[in-house]
């Protein structure tokens, strides 16, 4: 019978027997533990000293500290807010608005940079000369220009648009001018709930069909046209509901009233410029990650797939991309985190995200730099930790499982 031994024990026992070798400070386990605790105590002391030093210096200089300012009224306006906001609202609300605006532009950026990255990363392998060259040029141009210049570039493009009264007009419904993009808003009337319900049912049905089709294919080898069926259900079911309930929707059109457009949905140019710049910039890096991932899959996989007669498009989507995800995912993680951090460049064009509105305007109005910077740093830390957790979870799922 074998007794189970840890690697540590085996290593320890196979050492040549010397005098003192058994002393606890020669035991690598204890030794590591001691070093770690010394370092830990030291770090605690280090941060304590920084914090107390800062507080002492601040009180010596007569600078107010504490978080009570969060409840006081801010008294300034914020350009864009996802929650109702008035200039009499508190700094805490400014903080929340900043966080939401940061998350909004990050989410938009992550979605579009991923789409761009995968399109151009895969386009790099196209046998079509033009498509391949477009991918190469895209990556090389946008990867090599500092992102702040790209943000200012897009904002300058926006600033060159006509003023509100001379808006670019698409069918009296969509308007584009220097103050933003305006389009109609869909407003539901009574009965619209049925249509929303139909959309949910359609989505659930698509998932069910997908599972059923997969099972069937595993059992019988027969393929089911999932894409077309899904599209049919996704559009067909809500359309049916629309007809039955008698179109319970109307459009709220934007219209020029006074200085600006009222009604509909408006998107400010600061958000559009920042979202485009971040998506295009990060997309170029993701394209490189995708290229590296695809190249990491051995050529033999493609050859094997061809030899069993798979179509080129199927080879990419079924064989190459899933395997390349192992390489791509960790890189995606850091690109997403960079994107979140890069949103702070908004301060150059005045998009009201966390850094601009809270660590900028609010900080300057109350002057409590230490508290405000601490809160701001903590939020970026938390957002990036969440991204990391999600991506690590995804990474675990795409890992090569050893059998």
């Amino acid at each position: 019978m074998f007794s189970k031994k840890t690697a540590e024990q085996i290593k320890f026992e196979t050492r040549p027997n010397r005098v003192g070798a058994k002393a606890f400070y020669n035991n690598p386990k204890y030794r590591g533990w001691i070093y770690q605790s010394v370092l830990f105590v030291f770090l605690i002391g280090f941060f304590y000293s920084i914090v107390s030093n800062t507080l002492d210096n601040m009180s010596a200089q007569g600078i107010k500290s504490g978080f009570s300012f969060l409840n006081t009224s801010a008294g300034f306006d914020v350009l864009m807010s996802l929650i109702p906001f008035d200039t009499t609202d508190s700094y805490l609300q400014i903080f929340i608005i900043g966080i939401l605006n940061t998350i909004l532009v990050s989410v938009i950026g992550i979605i579009f940079s991923t789409i761009l990255g995968f399109i151009f990363g895969i386009a790099y392998f196209s046998r079509n000369w033009l498509i391949n060259k477009i991918a190469v040029i895209y990556v090389e141009i946008f990867r090599n220009i500092p992102v702040i210049l790209q943000v200012i570039f897009w904002y300058t493009v926006f600033n060159a648009l006509p003023i509100a009264r001379e808006s670019l007009n698409l069918g009296d419904a969509v308007f584009l001018n220097v103050t933003g993009l305006y389009f109609p808003k869909l407003v539901g009337e009574s009965g619209s709930g049925v249509v929303y319900g139909a959309i949910v049912v359609a989505i659930l049905a698509i998932f069910a069909i997908k599972r059923w089709a997969k099972k069937r294919q595993e059992l019988t080898g027969e393929q089911f046209p999932i894409l077309w069926t899904s599209l049919g259900i996704f559009f067909g079911l809500p359309l049916l509901a629309l007809l039955i309930t008698g179109l319970p929707f109307h459009l709220d059109y934007p219209a020029l009233k006074g200085f600006n457009f009222k009604g509909g949905i408006s998107v400010i140019p600061e958000l559009i410029s920042l979202a485009i710049a971040l998506s295009v910039y990060t997309g170029a890096f993701i394209a490189e990650a995708v290229r590296a991932g695809i190249q990491s899959v051995p050529q033999g996989q493609t050859e094997a797939a061809r030899s069993i007669g798979l179509k080129e498009s199927k080879i990419m989507s079924l064989i190459i991309v899933p395997q390349s995800m192992r390489v791509i995912t960790p890189m995606l993680n850091s690109e997403y985190q960079s994107l979140v951090k890069n949103t702070t460049i908004a301060t150059a064009i005045g998009y009201p995200e966390l850094f601009t509105v809270f660590a900028g305007s609010a900080l300057n109005q109350v002057g409590q730099a230490v508290e405000i910077m601490f809160m701001t740093l903590a939020i970026y830390f938390v957002i990036n930790m969440v991204i990391s957790l999600v991506m690590n979870h995804f990474n675990k799922r795409t890992e090569l499982s050893a059998r």
Partner: protein
């Protein structure tokens, strides 16, 4: 390898610990030792602080820096300029990066009481106002309901406009920018319908427009904006120096002492003029400065009137009238405490 890493971390941390940040202490001594005054100014605002093609700074705010350098070091050119945005200015002063903040900064209660700062006087009495494009056909601020406003972030204007619109039950959207150049560009492109800022800045920004005649400044003045230099709190010596240098310039105008006649007045002026210029009394000594401190200020930089006319008044493109900024006995509110 691991031990080496830890050792290096310890060494690095040791450095941080030993290097104690000491901002407190006498600014006057450190300025004398450095031989230069570090002065925080704006990133570029006509009439107040502006850099010409040769890299020379000039303006009303810059003259405060130059006056302090003349009084303390005997040479108005011994100034090191630090251009700062509105958002950066207080942190730069608090952290000791600059000795004086002379950057069209409004003296407010909050700033004076909670930022660890002291306002050393008022060099320009201002008020926030509006600039609009002539094409809009607006003649009063009360017609601005629903308009977009271009504002510089972190200014007291950001708060003043909110009060004004709330009081008049109107709405606006604030498009905020970091620098006054960006704010002007936003106004020029039509991103916002009007620009709100201190009156003096409106005139300064207007001459920078591609078509200055296309913009008008509305009659409403919506706030009190007393602008002046700022120093760190708890350094009374330096606070006194800056405060009395500002006063010396105002007193100079009141006493009729100019850069041209100061030498003559110093020798045979009236007692008040002699005290100011250091040929009588010990005003300089009490500040820890040479006896001729105010004489240096007035001969090298000029009295308040000279500085005003050269930078923002009739001798400048801004052509701003003295108005509130005239001496108290000439219809304004400019008044230096007694120099005795």
């Amino acid at each position: 390898m691991k031990i080496k890493n830890i050792a290096m971390t310890l060494a690095a941390a040791g450095l941080v610990f030993s290097a104690q940040a000491s901002i407190a202490g006498s600014t006057l001594d450190s300025v004398k030792k450095k031989g230069v005054v570090s002065c925080g100014v704006s990133t570029g605002l006509a009439g107040f602080s502006q850099k010409d093609e040769k890299g020379q700074w000039s303006g009303l705010d810059v003259d405060v820096c130059r006056s302090v350098a003349a009084a303390v070091l005997g040479d108005a050119s011994k100034v090191q300029y630090k251009p700062l945005t509105a958002k950066e200015r207080f942190t730069a002063l608090q952290s000791g990066e600059i000795d004086i903040l002379s950057r069209n900064t409004t003296w407010t209660h909050t700033r004076d009481t909670s930022l660890g700062l002291n306002f050393a006087g008022v060099i320009y009495y201002d008020g926030a106002g509006f600039m609009v494009n002539k094409k809009l056909g607006v003649s009063s601020a009360t017609e601005l309901n629903g308009a977009n406003a271009c504002i510089q972030a972190g200014t007291s204007t950001e708060l003043a406009i909110s009060d004004y619109f709330r009081e008049n039950k109107m709405e606006y959207k604030a498009v905020t920018f970091d620098t006054s150049d960006q704010t002007r560009a936003g106004f020029e492109s039509g991103r916002c319908d009007f620009l709100v800022s201190d009156q003096s800045q409106l005139y300064a920004l207007r001459i920078g427009l591609k078509n200055p005649a296309g913009a008008i400044v509305l009659p409403e003045v919506i706030s009190k904006e007393p602008l002046g230099p700022v120093v760190r709190q708890n350094d009374d010596e330096w606070f006194n120096v800056v405060k009395w240098v500002v006063n010396a310039s105002i007193e100079g105008e009141y006493q009729g002492v100019t850069s041209a006649n100061a030498a003559e007045m110093k020798a045979k002026g009236n007692p008040g003029q002699k005290r100011l210029l250091g040929s009588e009394g010990d005003l300089g000594e009490k500040l820890g400065l040479p006896a001729d401190w105010a004489y240096q200020v007035i001969t090298q930089v000029g009295n308040y009137a000279e500085s005003f006319e050269r930078n923002v008044g009739q001798g400048s493109p801004l052509k701003i009238a003295r108005g509130l900024n005239a001496q108290w006995n000439k219809g304004g509110i400019l008044y230096s405490p007694a120099m005795r």
